[in-house]
Symmetry: D2
């Protein structure tokens, strides 16, 4: 960490700063320049509150040289992390597609969707049991019962299942779930992240609506620091001023997260766009940009089949998309 | 709710839509215009997923006429809610100041701060025991022990205490806490909100970094719908492109939330600015705009007294600010 | 346009509103519902200030049924606009690549770059002559002299040239320029847009840093309403809270703008990312998502060749990227 | 400027970087640390493209120690700039109110508004003649004729006038205008800014919808570097995800801009909120936070008087607000 001091700092303030750093186990290397004094902090600066340092009267600017995350940092783990789930190896350069309905609604529905997405090439089944809803009056999901139905679909099709946890107290129901999803709204639910670090299951960690890459990686760090290295990062759209789409898919997150970290990157085009006809172009874009996987909403609920346009794809649309994904993935693999 | 259909809708699609609405207990009033068909939906539309409706092929646009929140809605509760805490009546047109350190660090520290902020006119004591930190390597707070120390300071000074809960599992430690704070990162931790609806304590609900007024009110609705009507709304800065300040204080939240809702509005200038010298002007702005209260960071930790510039005020700065707040509040009260 | 009135409007206010609409040549169709009154406005509502209407005391909500843009609207022009420039037909489903240096620096430089990008398959040459710079102390470009050098490169290679105009007063220098670029900062420089509507050259209109799709299309409308239909829309990244990349490329702009409009959509991955190693993945993503073209920075300036990492690609990197673009474009063309 | 290099830089790359800096007249002071190499750049770094430097392969991070603006920088001009206009001294600690209609519509209208706002205590008259409108089909203002009417109102009342320029070509009409306004959309119309630097009139420079404080000050720098030091900075709301208000008033801009610069800071609550009932609380907030002035929309157009709720105040509402502003200003003046 580099600390640039204001011109001509008071020696008393400088002594105070050095003492404050010493309290935190850091000895600064002082460079007295013609125009400014620079402190180079060597050692573990991850415990330093950079904001607090920046606010000090004698400090002009602070620059972190090392990122504050370690386990998730590619600098310390150059090789890509590969997470095996069922027949998929997520992160090894292949494209894994996770598909299923937004919510589990019935055994028939989830089994039917599971069979159709498997037939189209999906490697994992997704489905919401515990649903985070903005409104307390909206359908909150089937809960534990929904997980039972997902597991029934798994038994029927062999597809591993991915479903979201909203609170530590629900953990008991996830014993047979293959991948636990942490939703965007819980990305900084640190108590939940810590608990998920103590279990031995892959975690699909979704980026918060207004969180930076670094904050996402710090949340991954919470899980990894507690011992669970199996984290997948998921970009699902960020909140911007543009409201034509529900959120703005940050496609740059793919090369950015892969530069900063060794963890797999999954893209969720369904929640990003909120418009079913945009799911295909955004999926193909993610494949071309080098994503490790996609998580796509597919339903064949007769009641909802009436409403064509929602963000979910029909099984037919999904089957067609999978063929297109294969074409683009093949081209992307040939790229030098 | 008003649904405007695309020009010349297929009758089959229209029948499907009407059936879909009927499934949800709604009978549309159809207006056949020269250029478009309009459906007026009467009844409880709060259960309708507006996004899903907007995505339907035959739908051009949807407009919600009633807001989706009820208990928090001023339309149904014209009178301001007043929440009594200790000697304060929050929401009755007076200005309640909540003050204290970011974190509880020791008994001496918290008692000393409590005594000084009380002497300056603060009506409640704040202090962090369970701390949400972006980094797993940063100080996580004293936890349950910190709450014990807060209660010791309460015993010493008579000031009611406000402190943050991060997870339902911590609830047991909050039995003697006067006001439970839900932090910005947990504003949409719906399981936590539901639980807080079942207890009988005032809740200080902070707005999320990138959440709209309506989303904040929907989170308040989660608490109120479960039976706890004592919710205070807290604006603490939103995330924007401007990084000179840590966050951007949305001062318009005061008149906006008071228009939409009857709940008290508290402003947190310390976290919004992240710069101690900005706390005073932002506090005075909030008073002038009609806020019901302020929550301000004050510390007198000798170790940190070395670092002048952090977001916390010294007891002296706070005492001076309280005098200025009184001057501006008096003027604001005289405004017609 | 649909205007929903508040419950039980005062008849005097309603009369005033109807008179106000009449002043603007609109006769409302009034629907008296059980719970609300709805006005359906038929006719040309593009002149109505929707904000003003929304602010009226008796108005609950306003919904625009027709978009406020006409010439740029796909509803009225279902077929894609194709703009021929040199050997390229921009908008016909093919992928046109525009390449060149950020700034024209010398005749040798621009000719060398022109020859190399042409050899790699670029169809147009870009280069900055008049440069919008945040700082008045930064290099402001070679101006008119820079355009002369671009035209020399065009003479040498046959590549049509694209360069930016910053002010109407510069128009005289653009007589032989093939495509005039309007930069993001001038997207709402309406006087400039009006003037560009009176000339007969293709305009490359860049989206402003914080402008919506609709605002971009309204700016295109300024040009088209003045008579010039040859507008290309360019997404070059928007401003968000994420600062790891210079801007956030809004990849959804491709399907969104193609849904709303018939105009070609060009992507600028160089300015969006601001990081040269991200230009390739973002370019391939744009191709897969169905963009009509790309505008990419390439330089071979020996002085700058020293600084590897800037946002520009070297001729070698660009040649390799063009091969990859061809692979992905071929796959995208096969997609159903 | 401080440049931190990556660990173990190649000596060839380091030589290239040093040569590149030498080309720009800079000799780095090299500090060889145990873990990193730091270059301290002394001299005029305002011409250095920091982005370009940050992209270099061997560069880990760059920190600017001096802000890139000079004339607008409080560091070099500690005393507040005071700009006398008519009977007002803007920037001397008093509160100057500029008021008038959004658009000049007729001689009767502008004279009537001028007389009423003067009677209520406004020191300057505002009114739009050249109107930047998102839609080419919306009223574009009366243009030169509108300025004539503003000057007639000035003759009648003695109030100096403020009106917006949209293009250099309009400058001829501004000979007798007292303060020239640059709108948010033109904040980075650099050719216009340069020209305004060559005239000797105060400029009211509005912050762009998505521009940082530094970018605003760099635009002021364009004007000042060309010789015109009379610049007033105007915060008028920024674009965020919150759409209940038209824009989000960034109240922190007051202490922030006054810390960074010596120029007066004016707040525009009318455009920020877009809701007339919010103009009063936001105005009082700005006064309490220490703004030098306010620019407020007031109209008494009978046609528009019908539409109560727009962002403009009626003369009666404005008169009442002026009394409240005086009360809060008096309190703010007493604050220590």
């Amino acid at each position: 960490m580099i600390v640039i001091l204001k011109e001509k700092p008071e020696s008393k303030q400088l002594d105070n700063l050095i003492a404050w750093l010493a309290d935190r186990g850091l000895t600064p290397h002082i460079t007295q320049g013609v125009h400014q004094t620079i402190l180079g902090l060597v050692g573990d600066t991850s415990r330093i509150d950079i904001g607090l340092l920046q606010q000090m009267d004698i400090v002009e600017a602070v620059t972190r040289v090392q990122e504050p995350f370690k386990n998730a940092n590619r600098k310390f783990h150059p090789l890509d992390t590969v997470i095996p789930v069922g027949t998929a190896d997520i992160g090894n350069g292949s494209m894994t597609v996770i598909a299923g309905p937004c919510s589990v609604e019935s055994e028939e529905q989830i089994i039917a969707v599971a069979q159709s997405v498997k037939a189209s090439g999906a490697k994992l089944l997704r489905g919401g049991a515990f649903k985070p809803r903005t409104s307390p009056y909206a359908f909150q999901g089937m809960g534990a019962e929904g997980i039972k139905l997902l597991l029934a679909a798994k038994k029927e099709t062999g597809l591993p299942v991915v479903t979201e946890i909203m609170d530590i107290s629900q953990l008991e129901y996830f014993a047979d779930v293959d991948v636990i999803q942490v939703g965007a709204r819980n990305m900084q639910n640190f108590e939940l992240l810590k608990q998920l670090g103590h279990i031995n299951k892959p975690i699909l960690l979704k980026r918060g609506l207004a969180n930076t890459y670094q904050e996402l990686l710090m949340s991954a760090e919470y899980i990894m620091a507690s011992g669970n290295e199996n984290v997948m990062l998921c970009e699902r759209g960020i909140r911007t001023f543009e409201n034509y789409t529900r959120n703005t898919l940050d496609i740059s997150a793919i090369p950015a997260l892969k530069t900063l970290s060794h963890l797999p990157v999954i893209i969720d085009p369904s929640h990003a766009a909120g418009i079913s006809k945009f799911v295909a172009p955004l999926s193909l874009a993610a494949v071309a940009a080098g994503a490790d996987g996609l998580i796509i909403e597919v339903h064949n609920n007769p009641a909802c089949a009436k409403c064509d346009g929602m963000q979910s794809l029909t099984p037919e649309q999904f089957q067609n998309l999978m063929q297109n994904i294969a074409l683009v993935k093949q081209a992307q693999t040939q790229c030098k």
